[in-house]
Every structure is written in structure tokens, then in C-alpha cells.
């Protein structure tokens, strides 16, 4: 088993944001013909620097909380750590199996049953069909959804969907868990179980990176904290200094 680690050096991510006009080939062609401009350039396309020179080093056992306003780059950093976004400058180096719980609907097909969705989610996470069947009972029990698992997910409440997604995603032995906000799903019982499972993960020499706006949640799960602002990251500090960080 590898020990988990995350290292980002001078990580910069820029991406173009395409407006409605920039997404139309006909309009782009018309523009190119009438104005003589190059195809697809500078019209309704805004370049956004989502992360600017982020340095981050985490080792096994670290539970990092990301705080910052909306649009400060928390989610972009998580997506970059998951391998979805590639850096424009700098490097991302992650050791360990990554599980990203950024979007509840990942691999969730609303028309399929809970069981089918667990299978689908497991396949995406890299499990073989046999491995999934072997764990099915355990995952099913953890969701606490019982007979509902045989029903289509579209009939679920948001809380039930959260349970399903959380159970399926954490069923994979991940070394690095990336989470965005929605950890606060489900009722009190489920919260308690989710809490136990997360602590268990961190005990297995894992790393947790959690983006949240809620201070109590942060204090509950994290031992370190980093503040993002306009794509720039602060130093990683101990959770006890979170109040100082917020004032700064």
C-alpha cells in the first residue's frame, strides 16, 4: 500500500468561459466572414484565472479544509486534484487512489435503480463487476435505504440520493478523498455513520480535502485549513488558527 501524498507546485489553471454566442458555429462563421476575424477568437470568450500559483503539500493523515468565497477557486482546486483539470503552469503530483465526491449526480442515472447506480458508480471508480457484487451487501446496508434500492433513483429525495452517492463513493478504498460541501446530506443517523466512515478513512493513512462554508463542519473533520481568495491560496495552517485566518 502506498502512503498518500499530495503536492502542488505553482499550480496555475486558466480556462476560457464560453458565452452563448461563442458556442454557436454559425455565429462564429458569420462573424469571421463579416468582420474578418479569426474563427472562435475573442467573441464572448472570457479567460478566467481560476488558480494562480497554488502551492500545497499534504501527507497521510492530513485533513485539509478549504475555505473561501464562492468563485475563489476551491472547486477548481478539487477538480484539479481529481485529475480532471490539467494545469496551465506548475505540477500536481498525487499518490494514492483518488475518490472525488464533488457532484452528487456523478454516474447517477435517475431512471436506473439504486442497485444499478451503485454498480455503475463502482465501475467508474475502477472496481470490477465481481468486486462490486462482493461488496454490494455492505454498501446496501450502509445506505440504509433497504427496499428503496430496488426502485429508480428519480423517486428518491435529495437526502436519499446523497446517502446512495456517499455510500457508493466511499465503498472504494480511496487514499485521497476530495469532497465539496454536500457532506451534510442525510439525517442525523446518517451523518453519524458518514462521520465514522470518514474518520476511518483518515485513520487508514488517507488524506481528506474538504471545501466548505460551514465552520462547525470544518472543525469537526479537518486538522488543517487553507483559505482561497481569487485563485490565490493562503498558507496551510493548523485548524486552531482558523479564526485568525478568517480575520486576515
Amino acid at each position: 500500500m502506498t502512503t498518500a501524498s499530495i503536492r502542488c507546485t505553482d499550480l496555475t489553471i486558466r480556462f476560457p468561459v464560453y458565452g452563448a454566442d461563442a458556442k454557436s458555429l454559425k455565429k462564429a462563421l458569420a462573424r469571421a466572414v463579416s468582420v474578418g476575424g479569426a474563427l472562435g477568437r475573442h467573441a464572448g470568450v472570457t479567460d478566467v484565472t481560476a488558480l494562480a500559483g497554488v502551492n500545497l503539500e499534504l501527507k497521510a493523515g492530513d485533513r485539509l479544509g478549504l475555505i473561501g468565497h464562492n468563485g475563489s477557486g476551491k472547486t477548481t482546486l478539487l477538480r484539479a486534484l481529481s485529475g480532471a483539470y490539467e494545469p496551465d503552469e506548475g505540477t500536481i503530483d498525487v499518490h494514492g487512489r483518488i475518490a472525488a465526491l464533488l457532484d452528487l449526480s456523478l454516474g447517477i442515472d435517475p431512471t436506473a435503480t439504486g442497485y444499478d447506480n451503485i454498480r455503475l458508480r463502482g465501475r467508474i471508480a475502477g472496481l470490477s463487476s465481481r468486486e462490486i457484487e462482493a461488496r454490494m451487501d455492505e454498501i446496501a446496508e450502509f445506505t440504509g435505504l433497504g427496499p428503496f434500492l430496488a426502485m429508480p433513483v428519480k423517486t428518491y429525495s435529495a437526502g436519499m440520493q446523497g446517502r446512495l452517492a456517499f455510500a457508493a463513493a466511499t465503498a472504494v478504498e480511496a487514499d485521497v478523498l476530495l469532497m465539496d460541501e454536500w457532506i451534510a446530506v442525510g439525517d442525523a443517523d446518517f451523518q453519524k455513520m458518514a462521520h465514522k466512515r470518514l474518520l476511518n478513512l483518515v485513520e487508514r493513512a488517507g488524506i481528506l480535502v474538504l471545501a466548505t462554508h460551514e465552520l462547525p463542519l470544518l472543525k469537526l473533520y479537518c486538522n488543517k485549513v487553507m483559505r482561497m481568495e481569487g485563485g490565490v491560496a493562503s498558507e496551510v495552517v493548523d485548524i486552531r488558527k482558523v479564526d485568525q485566518l478568517l480575520k486576515a
Binding site: 483539470y85 494514492g96 463487476s129
Partner: protein
């Protein structure tokens, strides 16, 4: 698997590096073909969930269409049914594989945006998903193919091995167009309509419903239609007709050049596709 436990991403650029990364995507997608297959079977299963016949709706609706068009055109053109029905059936079934792969290719990345934006899954996995989905559909149509070949007595003259080579070339060509359509549609949202119109135009301009020899002296123009070659390489061997040597040349060179050019475009746009979505 190496990628599962260690991920290194750098901001390096340059054509060579981009090409290397594209090849790595290709390798990783082949290593996880099982995932593409699972996604494809899930797609087909969920499309027909809750219906009594399940995925065999595909077979039934295709069968009805083939029968209807077969009877209609056979009497319109005054042709013997046992010749014309197999001809039209094979044409519709195999042209459908191409149309399906290319049209659904437009959706490949858009549909996978949720997964692409929070995992490091290879992008080409989703292209194979689209191809496999259409292959599964073709599997359901094989009943019709066999039925019309027996009905017309063509099973005695059919050359399944050569037809298989034709199907392979058809898939190889349809898949690069599918990837190209996927990239273009992620960037420009009006591409799917354009692709749809082109494919609809193509089905009427290609001898799917009509016989090429009715075309008279204009037959030379058929040679310029790539879909004609693609279809002929599958339908010809199944109906015991010879396939012209230059058809194979056209198909192989189209596959090589098409994949080459598309792969270069893929290498260039790969890291941007997720931002298009």
C-alpha cells in the same frame, strides 16, 4: 494500475508532449475497455427499461421499418421482393450503424461532462462507449440480417469473413468521425443539428433504398460518395456481390488519414474539452 495510485500532471506544453498525452489517453482507454462496455450496456438497458420486450424493441421497430420500405419500394420500382427486401434491409441496418455512431458521437463528451469534470478517466473511454452502444444495437439487428439472407437465399453465396472485414472498416471510419463530431459539438453547440442534417442527406444520396445501376451514366459520381463504399464493403459480401478493389483502397486510406488527422486534433484539444462543456 499505475494511473490509479499515482497521478502526475504538469503544465508542460508543446506538440510532442500533447501527442504523448493523447497516446496515454488511448492506452488507458484500452486498458479500461471493460468500463466502456459496462457504460454502453447500461445505456442500452436503461433506454428500454420497463418495456416488455426490452432491447428487442430495437429489433421489432427495425423489422417493421425494413418490411414496410421493402414492400413499398419493391412495388414502386417493380423489383422482385426476394431480391429487394434483403438489399434494403441490409442497407438500412448497416447505414444505421454509421448514422448512430456519428450522430450519437455529438453527445459523447457533453453527456459525460459530469464524469469528465471530476475524474481522471480517459476521454476516449466515452468514444468507445458510443461505438459499443451502436455495436450492441447492431447485435440486436443480426436477427433481421440473418432472416433476410435466408429469405432471399443469399446465405448460400454470402461471404461472412469478407463482410466482417467490411464491418470492421466501417466501425473504424465511423469512430473517427464520431470522435471529431464529439469534440466539435462540445465546443459548438449547433454542430449536432448540422451533423444530423448531413447524415439525413447522406442516406438519400447513397444507394440504401435504390439500386446503383438505376443511376445510369451518373454512376461515376457514386465513387465520390464515401458512404457508398462503406456500405458496399458490407452489403456486397453478404449478398454475394464482388467488392471492387478500389473500394477497399478508399476505405483503408480514409481510416488511416481520418484517424491520423482526428487524433492530432484530439491531442491539441484534449485538455480543453472539459472546459468546453
Amino acid at each position: 494500475m499505475e494511473t490509479a495510485t499515482h497521478m502526475l500532471r504538469t503544465g508542460r506544453r508543446g506538440a510532442l508532449f500533447q501527442l504523448q498525452m493523447a497516446f496515454r489517453d488511448l492506452r488507458n482507454s484500452f486498458a479500461r475497455l471493460g468500463l466502456a462496455w459496462s457504460l454502453a450496456t447500461h445505456d442500452v438497458a436503461s433506454r428500454y427499461r420497463g418495456s416488455v420486450l426490452g432491447p428487442f424493441w430495437i429489433t421489432l421497430s427495425m423489422g417493421l421499418m425494413v418490411l414496410g420500405i421493402g414492400f413499398l419500394y419493391a412495388s414502386l420500382f417493380n423489383l422482385p421482393l426476394e431480391q429487394f427486401l434483403p438489399y434494403v434491409a441490409l442497407g438500412i441496418v448497416f447505414f444505421g450503424v454509421m448514422t448512430g455512431t456519428i450522430n450519437e458521437g455529438c453527445d459523447t463528451f457533453v453527456q459525460a461532462s459530469g464524469m469528465l469534470s471530476q475524474t481522471s478517466l480517459p476521454m476516449l473511454t466515452f468514444v468507445w462507449r458510443t461505438v459499443f452502444r451502436n455495436l450492441i444495437n447492431l447485435g440486436h439487428h443480426l436477427v433481421i440480417v440473418v432472416a433476410v439472407l435466408i429469405f432471399g437465399g443469399y446465405w448460400k453465396v454470402a461471404d461472412p469473413a469478407l463482410a466482417l472485414a467490411g464491418i470492421l472498416l466501417m466501425l473504424l471510419n465511423a469512430s473517427w468521425v464520431s470522435l471529431l463530431a464529439g469534440i466539435a459539438s462540445a465546443r459548438y453547440r449547433d454542430i449536432p443539428q448540422i451533423v444530423g442534417s448531413v447524415m439525413q442527406f447522406a442516406i438519400f444520396m447513397t444507394p440504401v433504398f435504390w439500386l446503383p445501376d438505376r443511376f445510369g451514366k451518373h454512376q461515376v459520381y457514386l465513387d465520390l460518395n464515401p458512404f457508398y463504399h462503406l456500405l458496399q464493403a458490407v452489403r456486397g459480401p453478404l449478398m454475394g456481390q464482388p467488392v471492387l478493389a478500389h473500394t477497399w483502397v478508399v476505405l483503408v486510406s480514409m481510416a488511416v488519414l481520418g484517424w491520423g488527422a482526428t487524433f492530432l486534433i484530439f491531442a491539441r484539444t484534449r485538455r480543453r474539452i472539459v472546459h468546453y462543456l
